[in-house]
């Protein structure tokens, strides 16, 4: 214990002492440049883990959820706009993104121990996994949907009568959020017995 304390004390003293060999200019400008490089590298690495290619580099993702996404409107449509994995599953805002990325380290554990490495295991766990995502969407008022589907920009007259009716009432009043009705639009639904509404 005292050994550790003396080590910390030595580091603290070294940090407090003015530099003997390096000039102030080298330390400040060099520190700034090193900081920029570190930040750039950090962000590049972060963005690298935020691509579809990275997500589907695991067969768990490619064979199950990604295969299901392919047939949906979010993947293939007339206008060529495509929502890939991170668009819906990673918050765009920095703080929330880092929080989500930290939570996602659990997925690394799952990958190593093969929690869902077969179709059967995945199907068995599907409801739990889906519930996590529904809870996340519910908690942040379907933020990832709204990154593209901005409520204020919706033209109800261009929607089908049914859609316009619900969007102008339940959604407008804030009683419901996107995920309450639009579950299972990008992936197949698990057994919904007992889930409200289905």
């Amino acid at each position: 214990m005292s050994k550790l304390f003396s080590l910390l004390l030595r580091i603290y003293r070294a940090l407090r002492r003015p530099s003997v060999h390096f000039s102030l200019g080298f330390l400040t400008i060099g520190g700034f440049i090193a900081g920029v490089m570190f930040w750039g590298a950090f962000n590049t690495a972060l963005e690298l883990t935020n691509t579809e290619t990275f997500c589907i580099s695991c067969h768990e993702m490619e064979d199950n959820v990604f295969a299901e996404l392919k047939t949906t409107i979010h993947y293939s449509n007339r206008s060529g706009v495509r929502a890939t994995c991170p668009d819906c599953h990673v918050p765009h805002e920095w703080t929330n993104k880092i929080a989500r990325k930290m939570a996602a380290t659990k997925e690394l554990y799952g990958k190593v121990f093969g929690t869902i490495n077969t179709k059967e295991k995945f199907e068995a766990k599907r409801l739990d996994l889906a519930k996590h995502e529904w809870a996340r969407f519910k908690a942040n008022n379907s933020l990832e949907c709204r990154n593209c589907h901005e409520f204020d920009n919706m033209d109800f007259t261009r929607q089908s009568p049914r859609a316009a009716k619900f969007h102008s009432t339940s959604l407008a009043s804030g009683k419901k959020t996107c995920i309450d009705c639009h579950k299972g639009i990008a992936h197949k639904l698990p057994n919904m017995k007992g889930i409200k509404g289905l």
């Binding site: 409107i73 009568p161 049914r162 057994n191 289905l198």
Partner: protein, 151 residues
């Protein structure tokens, strides 16, 4: 015996003749020669106006007046029931599935949709905006009754 042989020959003649007929004149829905690849027609648009359509006869399953792209109907869930189930209609104001959907084949009423009525799209379908592929001479029963009473 001779009769049989003539009949057989006649049949063979008819069969070969029809097979050798001009492939372009065959009455098919292909709109092209059988031995040629036909250009696929464009995917039609679906009626999505939520207007209920008339039923051509009383037993006709009503058509679906809206889009049902990617609706999941399987062992896990039934997307249609999200709005059309007994409990959902208060909120959705969609037509509820009728009491016949709760009946099993013995005529017993169950508490929920009978398994034999579970797969909605076996009977109910959305309508495409397309021209009829073949002419249809269907006449409504009311029209027939009216004609009969005139006579």
């Amino acid at each position: 015996m001779l009769k049989k042989i003539t009949l057989l020959l006649a049949m063979v003649f008819v069969m070969t003749n029809s097979a050798l007929a001009d492939p372009d004149k065959l009455a098919t829905l292909r709109k092209g020669a059988l031995n040629k690849e036909v250009k696929a027609p464009p995917i039609p648009r679906v009626y999505n106006d939520d207007k209920r359509q008339v039923r051509s006869y009383p037993e006709q399953p009503p058509t679906i007046p809206h889009q049902i792209r990617n609706y999941q109907i399987d062992l896990n869930t039934n997307r249609c029931m999200f709005c059309h189930s007994r409990k959902a209609i208060e909120e959705s104001q969609a037509p509820a599935i009728s009491i016949t959907h709760y009946m099993d084949r013995e005529g017993q009423f169950l508490a929920t949709v009978s398994p034999r009525r579970y797969f909605c799209t076996q009977c109910h379908i959305s309508q495409n905006k397309v021209k009829d592929l073949v002419p249809n001479s269907f006449v409504d029963i009311d029209a027939i009754l009216q004609q009969k009473s005139k006579k």
